[in-house]
């Protein structure tokens, strides 16, 4: 039985309070980091741990930190991406609601490592309870000297501010998030320069996801080797899996990286709803291409899922059963991307508009011969040609649905109706 690490406090009464967090060993990692390690040693430790970003891209965290120039002559910033918007994902919300100090401790240690004195947590505006709990936790941490000036008698100063988002999925893209923090419309920036060199207010900036930062205190306390021994060596650690859709026990599960998708869906999730069969599973939020039922033995880690033609993404695992029309699912996913396209680049803004039109007509039984070729041509025009990954995510997701469930699309066109209605 795997013992929860990141979720160990979430079901503890008053788990969001400092007293509870400290009673469970909280803030010992920060003390250890400040007393026993230089900032460079923390970066090396995180590099050795092979921690990879939990926001979706899986970039090595320690490597990202090491890109920050040592002497910048400008303030450095740490930003936490808590704008959890990938459909099917709710892990960061639960950490912030029920164990906000775990995030704050991770922020403080990470800020110390990169030499930042200010952090902004960019959190979804809808997450009212998480915002309230995080505000309360920041105030408590300040009062007890875990944040503020000369923390624990060191010369490290660190403050954490909350910045509420206002409903733009594109803010999950880190440079769009920076523009949003600067008070602009959220649109991705041209790279380079990368944020580590020129990010928020043109200063060196690191952007990390909530779950990534929550891993950091545990690595400091228990060591890089301990972390690497959980799951696959190149993609290790405890992992939060968000299980939703047509499954008996939807919920947030913490298990090692690399566990088989089937185990997650059938053992943790209790399998399909009564009388139904699983048709496909989206393993990493709607940007991740779906995996048909016969492919569920794939390991839930960055490399295994990439090899299987999908991605771990945000580990938003959405189960789809045999009562559901895949054309409808594909249409709803593309409608989402179309709605959230920031409008900056043409292939995404215009391409998705056309994809939605074609998909809606196919789903309504008004598709015409040639529509599937048209959809593929549109995917080709979008994929690889957009400013950021939003358009790519839409195109690869649609392609997977077309590849694995072509017969359903064809049936809609040939029968002039949705066979599921």
């Amino acid at each position: 039985m795997f013992e929860p690490i990141l979720l160990r406090n979430v079901d503890v009464p008053d788990g969001h309070l400092l007293a509870t967090y400290r009673a469970g060993g909280g803030y010992q990692a920060l003390a250890k980091a400040l007393d026993e390690h230089t900032p460079d040693e923390i970066i090396s430790l995180v590099k050795e741990s092979n921690l990879r970003g939990r926001g979706g891209a899986g970039f090595p965290t320690g490597l990202k930190w090491s890109f920050v120039p040592k002497r910048a002559g400008k303030p450095k910033y740490l930003c936490c991406n808590a704008d959890e918007g990938e459909p099917g994902t709710f892990k960061d919300r639960i950490i912030m609601e029920r164990d906000p100090h775990q995030l704050i401790e991770g922020l403080a240690i990470s800020g110390y490592a990169i030499g930042a004195e200010t952090a902004y947590v960019y959190i979804r505006g809808e997450y009212t309870l998480a915002i309230q709990r995080l505000e309360q936790a920041i105030a408590e941490a300040h009062a007890k000297g875990y944040l503020g000036t000369r923390i624990r008698g060191s010369d490290f100063n660190f403050v954490v501010h909350i910045h509420c988002g206002a409903g733009a999925y594109i803010c999950g893209e880190e440079t769009a998030m920076l523009d949003s923090l600067e008070g602009k419309r959220a649109q991705p920036r041209l790279k380079p320069p990368f944020p580590a060199v020129e990010g928020l207010y043109a200063s060196p900036t690191v952007i990390n996801n909530v779950e990534t930062l929550a891993c950091v205190p545990h690595i400091v306390l228990r060591g890089a080797g301990w972390f690497r021994n959980i799951g696959p060596d190149k993609s290790p650690g405890p992992k939060l899996y968000c299980l939703s859709g047509q499954v008996r026990k939807p919920g947030l599960y913490e298990l090692p990286m690399g566990i088989p998708l089937r185990e997650l869906v059938e053992d943790s999730g209790g399998g399909p709803l009564p009388g139904r069969k699983i048709k496909a599973v989206i393993p990493g939020g709607v940007s991740a291409p779906l995996i048909p039922a016969h492919g569920l033995d794939v390991g839930m880690d960055f490399d295994s899922l990439a090899a299987a033609g999908s991605m771990l993404g945000s580990a938003g695992v959405i189960v789809i059963d045999d009562s559901t029309c895949m054309v409808k699912v594909a249409t709803r996913i593309i409608e989402f991307f179309h709605h959230e396209s920031c409008g900056k680049c043409t292939p995404c803004r215009e391409g998705l508009n056309w994809v939605v039109k074609v998909l809606r007509r196919v789903e309504a039984g008004q598709g015409v011969p040639g529509d599937l070729e048209q959809l593929e041509a549109l995917c080709k025009g979008i994929f690889g040609n957009t400013f950021c990954a939003l358009g790519d995510g839409a195109a690869i997701g649609l392609r997977a649905a077309l590849t694995h469930f072509e017969h359903e699309f064809v049936a809609h066109i040939e029968e002039h109706r949705c066979p599921f209605h």
């Binding site: 994902t89 709710f90 939703s244 947030l252 989402f336």
Partner: protein
């Protein structure tokens, strides 16, 4: 604190006043219920930033409303995880019992019905946001009970209270 003081306090968190536009708009919307032109101009004046910077954020981000919304804003998620658990049926039911289509407000100004993208609470799908709270594991019976409760709350308020909370008609 009044609105100006709240906005000034939020602005102190940033080295650049422009960064404070989003928090200022959230504060102003909480105060006024929505963001009509004069409120946007007031925000620009308080922060001493270009008005166009304020307008463009108010119209880009979906949490900002430049038109009035009802006393109770029902924001039902109909993204994939909620759709797979019956959100469409709930939307149809809400449209029927409220007598409005999505995006609309009831003539008494009590309810606005919207669909929204994923609320990040898929473990309790289908889910809806109502004010600051999430209502999860919804079904038709729960929705009906919720509407009854909201109507009762509104019924207890005096006409003057309601006039103060209901934004001017659409």
């Amino acid at each position: 604190m009044n609105m100006r003081e709240k906005i000034k306090a939020a602005a102190a968190r940033y080295p650049d006043q422009r960064s404070a536009i989003m928090p200022a708009l959230l504060i102003a919307q909480k105060e006024h219920g929505y963001l009509p032109g004069p409120v946007l101009e007031e925000v620009a004046d308080i922060l001493d930033v270009e008005r166009i910077w304020v307008y463009e954020l108010a119209t880009f981000y979906t949490l900002f409303h430049t038109e009035p919304v009802g006393v109770f804003h029902l924001q039902l998620c109909d993204n994939v995880s909620c759709m797979l658990r019956g959100a469409e049926d709930l939307l149809r039911h809400l449209e029927e019992v409220l007598g409005i289509t999505k995006g609309g407000t009831t003539p008494d100004g009590l309810f606005t019905l919207s669909t929204v993208e994923c609320l990040g609470a898929c473990e309790m799908a289908p889910v809806m946001q109502l004010g600051d709270d999430y209502q999860g594991d919804l079904d038709i019976a729960r929705i009906d009970a919720l509407l009854d409760r909201l109507r009762a709350t509104a019924g207890q308020a005096t006409g003057a209270d309601l006039a103060a909370t209901v934004p001017p008609g659409e």
